[in-house]
Symmetry: C2
Subunit: 361 residues, 2 copies
């Protein structure tokens, strides 16, 4: 559906290349592809990821620290099983990614919502509300859903808090690859000198979600404990796509694909931004952030975002209401609109006019 969040451009997935890589791996007739996979993930993929993370995200880690999972929620579940106990507390961004919220609550974690402002999560507020929390789950590069970046002083303050309390930080770096202005920000993990940060990445946003592959980087001190959890509960991910993905990264396709996507998304973001500004500036004000895969458009007037999103949905447009990403009541109203699958200026104009019509109906 148009405006869907978090989906990559499906018309730009390198499907022919992917087919070739899968076919090549299939032809190798490697019986390793048939057996129970290593629950930590394919070694070749983990090595390729270690290389990628070093170059692109400033993260020094080796393959031993990397675990391949079936998605971010799978990564979270693994973290909870390994590091937390029922009733342990975690900071959670307010607003924040609801799927992670569900998963953490199901795992018995008590979440304390910590407000996000223009500089990202308010660490001082976190300390005053829940100094002794065992964990903080954050999206430092592009906060989900506001898109703001966590400032450097806040990054340092967050790490300091985690050190003081021996708490864990989960860095969800879901779409860090997409940044359209300024220099890429290294991951929070790259500043982590004491091994408090668990870094979570995914291929759902950068390749395609149907792949169902994500990964987790754990501190060296926790490798053994995570290994124990995996040997008890891990079933591992299918081997074939992991092997093909390792080739995709190693052969340089991944870096080229990301470069292409960055240019494409910058363009598509522009299409949507201009169309909204032209047609809906009396109701919506777009806050352009440095990166991400969607726009946040604040409601200018007194309209309820939930109602606007409902009307859009009625017209087949998958716009989300900002307020539903809050755990507590909020008066902050806005709409979240994915732009990755808007293929042209004309497309954007047409979709925005459909949106306008839906609002007015």
């Amino acid at each position: 559906m148009p405006f869907q969040l978090g989906s990559p451009a499906l018309d730009a997935v390198p499907i022919r290349l992917w087919r070739r890589l899968i076919t090549r791996r299939l032809k190798m007739s490697d019986t390793g592809l048939l057996s129970y996979p290593d629950p930590r993930g394919d070694l070749g993929l983990r090595q390729a990821l270690a290389g990628y993370l070093g170059v692109s995200r400033g993260i020094a880690c080796d393959a031993d620290q990397i675990i391949v999972t079936a998605g971010y929620c799978d990564s979270l579940s693994l973290i909870c099983r390994t590091l937390l106990r029922q009733g342990d507390e975690s900071w959670f961004e307010e607003p924040g990614y609801f799927q992670a919220r569900y998963m953490l609550e199901a795992a018995g974690v008590v979440l304390t919502p910590i407000d996000v402002d223009d500089g990202g999560i308010n660490v001082d507020l976190g300390r005053s509300k829940a100094e002794r929390a065992q964990m903080a789950v954050v999206t430092p590069t592009h906060q989900s859903p506001t898109g703001v970046s966590l400032t450097l002083p806040r990054r340092q303050a967050l790490l300091e808090w985690a050190n003081d309390n021996e708490s864990w930080i989960v860095e969800d770096d879901y779409d860090s690859e997409y940044r359209y202005r300024g220099r890429p920000i290294p991951a929070l993990k790259s500043l982590d000198r004491t091994g408090r940060v668990l870094y979570a990445g995914t291929f759902s946003k950068v390749l395609f979600p149907g792949l169902r592959l994500a990964y987790l980087v754990v501190p060296p001190s926790e490798v053994v404990r995570f290994g124990e959890t995996l040997s008890r509960y891990g079933h591992g991910c299918p081997q074939l796509p992991q092997a093909a993905l390792a080739d995709f990264i190693r052969d340089g396709h991944f870096a080229r694909h990301l470069k292409r996507m960055r240019a494409l998304y910058a363009q598509r973001r522009g299409y949507l931004q201009r169309a909204l500004q032209t047609a809906l500036s009396d109701r919506l004000s777009v806050e352009l952030q440095a990166g991400g895969m969607h726009l946040l458009a604040r409601c200018v007037g007194e309209e309820r975002d939930v109602e606007l999103a409902e009307r859009a949905k009625g017209a087949g447009l998958k716009v989300e209401a900002l307020s539903t990403w809050f755990a507590d009541d909020t008066d902050r109203a806005g709409l979240l609109l994915g732009f990755t699958n808007i293929a042209s200026e004309e497309d954007a104009i047409r979709l925005v006019s459909e949106l306008k019509r839906a609002f007015d109906d």
Copy 2:
């Protein structure tokens, strides 16, 4: 490793056919393969499974009741999330499948071990030990690990208990397809008139474990609740292998493959049985059951099975000790030996003589 349990014959996986099916699906360039998959699983696969289960396992169900998962443990986790609360109680076979034990305990389920004898789990004992349990997890076709089948009176008694208490029964039918004498026993689920049974199957044993695909049949009354759990926590399994697997079943390959495997495994079971009888009958007595993918050989003398298994492991032979499959202390000693990857009479003789040497060293 030789004697490994629960692995299908890796030399008999129809890898060329599988490659062809994967390639064919890849060529279709279906963007459905790229998007977030339906968390319930590929509709085509679920339809194919409904047909297969009707014909082969006597289970009348439709695709709506079927959920594709990443493995049996994933199915269990889904059941716990949907139907149980922290601290709920479940019967668990004694001895029983330890991986399931870990998973249930991690989900906060309190397990009551219920003895298994020649007729399967002792239902009367279950009622006297834990009448009010919310669940029972059983392997009725070939009990894991003893291989015995749950008798018909016990099946009826188990269903009656579940009805009386509105409890759930999880039927783990992991290798029911492999039965070497007598007629196939229909699934316990086929006798379930009131919708108390959750039926769990897997493709790890009948196709190959690296596939990471399994499934769950839920009662019609619970379809909506499971759907809610999935929409909260489900991420779905990769699309491509699901689509290829649907073709594999629909085009009749699955039925043919099973038929071939049944003949092959009957043969390989014979190899191992005869080799054990010839070389080790002074120490081990093989209890031949009607089906399964491994043999249970009871210790004839006073030897500790854990010690024998340790010695075997030292010689690179992956034999398991029966006593480690018990939650409580037990004096029942025996060894579990997988036969699926023993390719010839000579292989069996060689491996058993290695085993004998390891015992004697």
